[in-house]
């Protein structure tokens, strides 16, 4: 049962008990009060009896009509007084009846005396004596009864007082008992559970989140206990979450440190690679240089001695070494896409293309090329590499023109506008030409290292330009692809993310 209801019930009971006790006590003391009243009345009655006795003696002595009238008046008053008293026990009433009988007998005797006195004949002394004696007896009896009545009433009064006192005592005990019961109830129902709760919270406060109060009563404290336990469960969960988060943070930090270490290692590796590539290419170039230099010396100083064929042979050798040198340079720049990659910064592609066109000025005028550039966006990129990419693509477009047609190259923004807005924004640029084109089945192969679709005789070049383009695009997190058909020109499209989350760029 809920504590509040218990309290209400107890309060109700207490009120009822108090009311009852009040009623009882009021009743008891009222009775006492009545009894005292009765006592006083009886006492006055007794006085009246004495007064009647006096009046009787007075009449007996004087015989005056005045005394007679007094006697009757007093007798009537006496009766009136007796009748006024409200008796409350049978004993009292019995006594009152006796008194009344006495009074009637007295009255009768008095009237006898009156009659005798009013008669003609002189009453006999003995009859007077008899009547007087009867009167005395009657008076005495009445006095005696009245005294008895007084005694009885007094006794009843004392009894009533005792009852009232007892009732008062019992009600005090009852009230005390009620208070004790209430106290016990509070203690059992509220105080002890609260103390228990207090003790439990102290235990929990120490850090033991698995402890539960578990006071499962169906009252307010039970609710409190359940709520508390619920809170503990949640707290435990939250703490667990927090611990988990801390672990995750520690793990992330560890991973971050690892990444940093890896990054440093990679940077070192890059430096080593660059060193190696440079040294290798440098040392490889040296013999080629000798062959080329002495080849041309040979041609110069011994042209006649070795003859025309001999000169041709020497030329072939020199050309071969020249090509080798170009290949080595090409390989070096291919490896440098990674080892010499710079951090990404905003690059306005319009400016990049303008620079490239300026660098290719000679070639553009030689081929009578016409290059049209559309509005291009700004992207996060390595500026030098993007220029390299554009240069390779545009130079190719110029190179592979139709024999009798001047190259016409278009560079434009080919981005798809619609699409998933939540996906990373991309930038697509196309370099389109009206040149000789190629079969689409080679569209992937041409991006391989040293891959060529033509003989050296037809077109010069190392076959590494497009490989470098692909490597640059991939370093930027993008890609490059080609679409073409023989005789229909070609369109090379590179796709790059518009923005990167780190400004450091990709050092791999």
């Amino acid at each position: 049962m809920r504590i509040a209801i218990k309290f209400r019930i107890v309060t109700l009971l207490a009120v009822l008990l108090a009311t009852l006790v009040a009623f009882v006590l009021i009743g008891a003391f009222n009775r006492v009060h009545d009894q005292i009243g009765r006592l006083r009345q009886t006492d006055r009655f007794l006085k009246s009896v004495f007064e009647l006795k006096v009046v009787t003696e007075d009449y007996l002595e004087t015989g005056l009509p005045r005394a007679n009238a007094q006697w009757h008046a007093k007798s009537a008053t006496l009766l009136g007084q007796l009748r006024e008293i409200a008796f409350n026990t049978d004993e009292q009433r019995a006594l009152a009846r006796r008194i009344q009988a006495n009074h009637t007998s007295l009255g009768r005797t008095f009237r006898e005396i009156e009659t005798t006195a009013a008669g003609d004949a002189t009453p006999e002394a003995v009859m007077i004596r008899r009547l007087t004696a009867n009167l005395d007896v009657a008076l005495l009896a009445m006095t005696s009864s009245a005294n008895q009545l007084l005694e009885v009433i007094y006794r009843d009064l004392v009894k009533g007082q005792r009852i009232a006192t007892t009732v008062a005592a019992f009600s005090s005990i009852a009230m005390l008992g009620m208070i004790v019961a209430l106290g016990a109830m509070i203690r059992r129902g509220a105080l002890r559970p609260l103390q228990r709760l207090q003790r439990d919270t102290a235990i929990i406060g120490e850090g033991n989140l698995d402890y539960r109060v578990g006071y499962d009563a169906d009252d307010e404290l039970g609710d409190l206990s359940r709520a508390f336990d619920g809170m503990l469960t949640r707290l435990k969960r939250v703490t667990a979450s927090r611990d988990e988060l801390n672990r995750e943070v520690a793990e992330r930090r560890r991973v971050e440190t690892e990444l940093r270490t890896t990054l440093t290692a990679l940077e070192q590796s890059n430096r080593d690679l660059e060193q190696f590539a440079y040294s290798a290419s440098h040392d490889l170039q040296e013999p080629l240089r000798k062959v080329a230099a002495f080849g041309s010396l040979l041609k110069k100083e011994y042209a006649d001695a070795i003859g025309e064929q001999g000169n041709q042979y020497v030329s072939i050798m020199c050309d071969a070494t020249g090509r080798m040198q170009k290949l080595i340079s090409a390989l070096l720049s291919y490896s440098r896409v990674t080892t010499r990659g710079k951090a990404f910064v905003p690059v306005d592609l319009n400016d990049a293309v303008a620079t490239v066109l300026s660098d290719l000025e000679t070639r553009i005028s030689e081929t009578k090329g016409d290059i049209v550039v559309g509005r291009l966006p700004t992207i996060q990129a390595d500026p030098a590499q993007i220029r390299q990419l554009l240069q390779n693509l545009i130079a190719n477009a110029l190179k592979f023109h139709k024999p009798d047609e001047a190259p016409r190259v278009q560079v434009y923004d080919d981005s798809i506008v619609e699409g998933d807005p939540s996906a990373m924004p991309l930038c697509r640029i196309s370099v389109e030409d009206n040149g000789i084109g190629f079969e689409q089945k080679y569209a992937d192969r041409i991006f391989g290292i040293f891959q060529r679709l033509h003989t050296r005789r037809e077109y010069s070049g190392t076959g590494i330009g497009l490989a470098v383009c692909r490597r640059i695009a991939e370093r930027h997190g993008g890609c490059v692809a080609a679409v073409s058909a023989p005789g229909n020109g070609a369109r090379f499209t590179f796709t790059l993310p518009l923005a990167r989350d780190t400004s450091q760029g990709d050092k791999t």
Binding site: Q285, R289, K290, A292, A293, F294, L297, K300, Q325
Partner: protein, 156 residues
């Protein structure tokens, strides 16, 4: 036309490159005295007039290769440019390397020019001609014992 009185010293370890340069000088008709040393040690000995080179006179112009055994051109350059007796000699770096670090470091240490050895012989001849025109025709050298004033003027 160049001033024949200007003496040139070249530090180069590669025999074939020495041959090519000598041929290029001949082809470019630069007739100045060209002395060759094989590495940094010999170079310093020559400049200081030590050992075998006790009688050597300091050159007016130095062509210096960077990659040499024993003591390379970088070290030699540093030594030369910190030596008050040798500092005044203009140094033209003539090397195969095109590394940015080499170029920057050379200029930082006081090299006067940096030339990458050309690949073909024809180009080498052009370079030597250019050296002749500039260093031996345009610029002025300080006067020394074997190059007293009056003996060499621009245009002579």
């Amino acid at each position: 036309m160049n001033c024949v009185a200007i003496s040139i010293l070249m530090a180069e370890d590669d025999i074939e490159d020495q041959l090519l340069v000598k041929k290029a000088f001949k082809e470019a008709r630069v007739l100045n005295g060209l002395t060759i040393v094989n590495d940094g040690e010999e170079l310093m000995a020559y400049l200081r007039g030590e050992g075998d080179y006790a009688s050597a006179t300091k050159p007016d112009l130095l062509l210096l290769d960077l990659n040499m055994p024993r003591k390379d051109g970088r070290e030699a350059l540093e030594e030369i440019k910190s030596d008050p007796e040798l500092r005044h000699i203009p140094v033209v770096i003539l090397t195969t390397s095109d590394a940015d670090e080499d170029i920057l470091r050379s200029y930082n240490m006081g090299a006067n020019s940096y030339i990458q050895k050309p690949v073909t012989f024809e180009k080498m001849v052009e370079v030597v001609e250019a050296i002749g025109q500039y260093w031996l025709g345009v610029v002025k050298f300080p006067c020394t014992e074997h190059n007293p004033p009056g003996r060499c003027e621009s245009g002579t």
